[in-house]
Each structure stands twice: as structure tokens, then as C-alpha cells.
Symmetry: C2
Subunit: 206 residues, 2 copies
């Protein structure tokens, strides 16, 4: 009886630690979840070398789903996503973008603006911000899955836009913002850049 009691005491400690320290993701605002999110943001790095391990289609879909969760001006969602996993297509994209780093990538997501869904006049330009927010969500979701990625700019490069448009067969009104190169990182020793500069912060006014 005493034996069981002692073992139970140890197990109680286990349960207490488990419940108090490990309540994500059901309680999104637990301290652990806050740290997990901040840590994911802080440790994301640009990855350009990958192993040959393929990314599951379901995982790619989850990652694009994260992209579509971004906010957009007047909720226009002026975007489309091309998911590329075929070697031949990755190579074709690599030939038209000098810094796409697709040599060893196993996937790419091309985030595009859809001008039919975009706002009018000067507000049309909000598609760039909307699609950039979606892109950042994609980078963060990929990183959370242990997948490395790098944001390779296409728009507003006057050479890259028509070339990527041609390779992907994009119709008129669809503008490629970037190529997100993806795969499982070849190196485990990737250190994030420390970009913290307190002098970039101003309080109340400039």
C-alpha cells in the first residue's frame, strides 16, 4: 500500500507538471504557447540547402491554409497559391530566377496577387501587403513543421515577373509576388540572424 502511495506521489508530480507546464495548444494563451509562438518567430531562418525528403501533400496544404489565414484589406483575399513539387517544374523555375535556390528544394509555393479580387485605384496596391502577410504565415507554419524555406522576391522585378508567369502559365491579372523555396533543411546548425535593434523603436512620436 505504501509502495503504491509513493509511486502515486511521483505520478502526481508528473500530472501536475504536465497540466501546468504543457497545456498548449488547447489553451492558446498559456505561457508555453506564447513562448512556442515567439520562439518559432525568433528561430525562423532562411534555408537554401535541403535533404531529399519530400514534404507530405497534407502538410503543404496545412501550410497554404496558414497563408490564407492572413488578414487582407477589406477582406478581399486577393491571392492565389501555386504549389510545385515536380522536379522538372522546380528546375524550370530555377532557370528563370537567379536566387531561387531550388537545386535541392523539394517544393515551392508561389504566392500570387489576383487583380480581379484586388481593390480599385491606389488601394489596388494593398494586394502586395496582403500577399506578404500570407507569405510570412507560410514561412512560419513551415518552420513549425521543421521545414526550411526562403522568400525569393519576384514582384516588382521586371525580368522575373514575365518569366515566372510564363513557366507557371499564369493568366492575365495574376501577378507572382515571390517563390517560396522549401524543403527539409540539410543542416541542423542554422543560426537565426539577430536583427534586434532598439534604436529602430521610437516611443509616442519620432
Amino acid at each position: 500500500m505504501k509502495k503504491e502511495l509513493l509511486f502515486a506521489k511521483g505520478l502526481l508530480a508528473a500530472i501536475l507538471i504536465f497540466v501546468t507546464a504543457c497545456s498548449c495548444p488547447t489553451n492558446n494563451q498559456s505561457e508555453d504557447c506564447t513562448l512556442a509562438v515567439l520562439d518559432n518567430i525568433a528561430t525562423r531562418v532562411s534555408v537554401r540547402q535541403f535533404t531529399d525528403r519530400a514534404i507530405d501533400k497534407d502538410v503543404l496544404e496545412d501550410i497554404v491554409r496558414a497563408g490564407m489565414a492572413a488578414p487582407t484589406a477589406v477582406n478581399k483575399q486577393p491571392w492565389a497559391f501555386v504549389v510545385v513539387t515536380e522536379r522538372e517544374m522546380l528546375d524550370s523555375l530555377n532557370r528563370v530566377h537567379p536566387y531561387a535556390h531550388l537545386e535541392t528544394a523539394t517544393a515551392a509555393i508561389i504566392v500570387c496577387g489576383d487583380m480581379e479580387k484586388a481593390l480599385d485605384g491606389y488601394a489596388r496596391e494593398y494586394w502586395i501587403q496582403d500577399c506578404s502577410a500570407a507569405t510570412q504565415n507560410i514561412l512560419l507554419a513551415a518552420h513549425a513543421y521543421g521545414i526550411g524555406s526562403v522568400w525569393c522576391g519576384v514582384y516588382p522585378d521586371p525580368n522575373r515577373i514575365p518569366e515566372v508567369t510564363r513557366v507557371l502559365g499564369l493568366p492575365g491579372g495574376i501577378i507572382p509576388l515571390n517563390i517560396i523555396t522549401m524543403g527539409y533543411p540539410a543542416s541542423e546548425d542554422l543560426q537565426p540572424k539577430d536583427k534586434w535593434k532598439p534604436e529602430n523603436i521610437h516611443y509616442q512620436r519620432w
Copy 2:
């Protein structure tokens, strides 16, 4: 001796459970951390009504730190952040932006592009993408802290840019991209929009 052994066994169970099931945030790629990050992205909503609870300065700094962790074209980091918490300044900003929703907000972060740090020629425009990525990081970090926010566009609105510039005393070459309105949500019942549209995804090519 036997007592300690039994208790130790229980504790060992605790440690095993802790290490295997609850390793965030030290092991960023545990399943729990992945879910915490995806959940944080999926449940973020635009919040426009807030309680009067102030946001700690340290928390605001952590949130801006997340902003600075965003990737930027050629690592230029062409940004600056104005953090506003004074009621009078929040009201002044509210008067010059018709949809800033700062009435009950306790803080605002204005994400600005710094043209001195931006690239040249057409590539100058990458500041918009860089600052949008930083903004999305800020929204996500705030949400992880249980803080609500809403992205209120300033650039490229020809009326809002000069007005926000004037209120904040921004020098030449500093362009306000947005006002991020912030505070602790007044309502606990905020449902995220479901923006998942599989027809927005194309595989291999359009």
C-alpha cells in the same frame, strides 16, 4: 532506500512525460509546438474593441522584437517602429485615420519604411513586403500574448500618409505603412473568419 527508489520511479515517469510530450519551446519542432503555432495563426482575428487594461512595456518590446525577426530583401531591415501608448497621441492618430478604431485601444504600433535603408531602383519597393512581414509577425506575437490587434492601412493612401507623418513627426524618408491598433480584447467571443478556399490552390502550374 526503497522509498526513494519508488518515488524516483514516479518522478522518472514525470520527466519522461515532460520530455516526450511537452518539449516546447526548447524543441521547436515537437508536435505540440507545431500545433501551437498553427493554432495561433488560425485563431488570430482583427480586434477593434478593448478593455482598459494597459499592455506592459516589456510585452510591447517583445512584440516589436518579433516584428524585427521578419526576413527582408537583401537583409536591409528597412524599417522603424513607433510605439504609442499615450491617450492623447492615440486620439490624435484616431482623428486622422477613419478606420483606426483607436477609441478604446491602449497601444498602437506604427510600422514605417525607412527609405535610407531601402534598396535602389524598382527594388526600393521591397520595403512594403519587408514591413508587411514584420507587421504579420507583430499581429501573431500580440495574439500569442492574448492581445488583440487590427492592421489599419496607411500606405499607399494619399490622404493618410501625410496626416500620420505629421502627427508622429516622422522625418523625410520615413513612410508609415500602417497603424496596428492594440489592446486586450473587450469580447472573449471572437470567431476567426474561415478563409480556406481550396480553389485558390493550383498544383504544379496554373
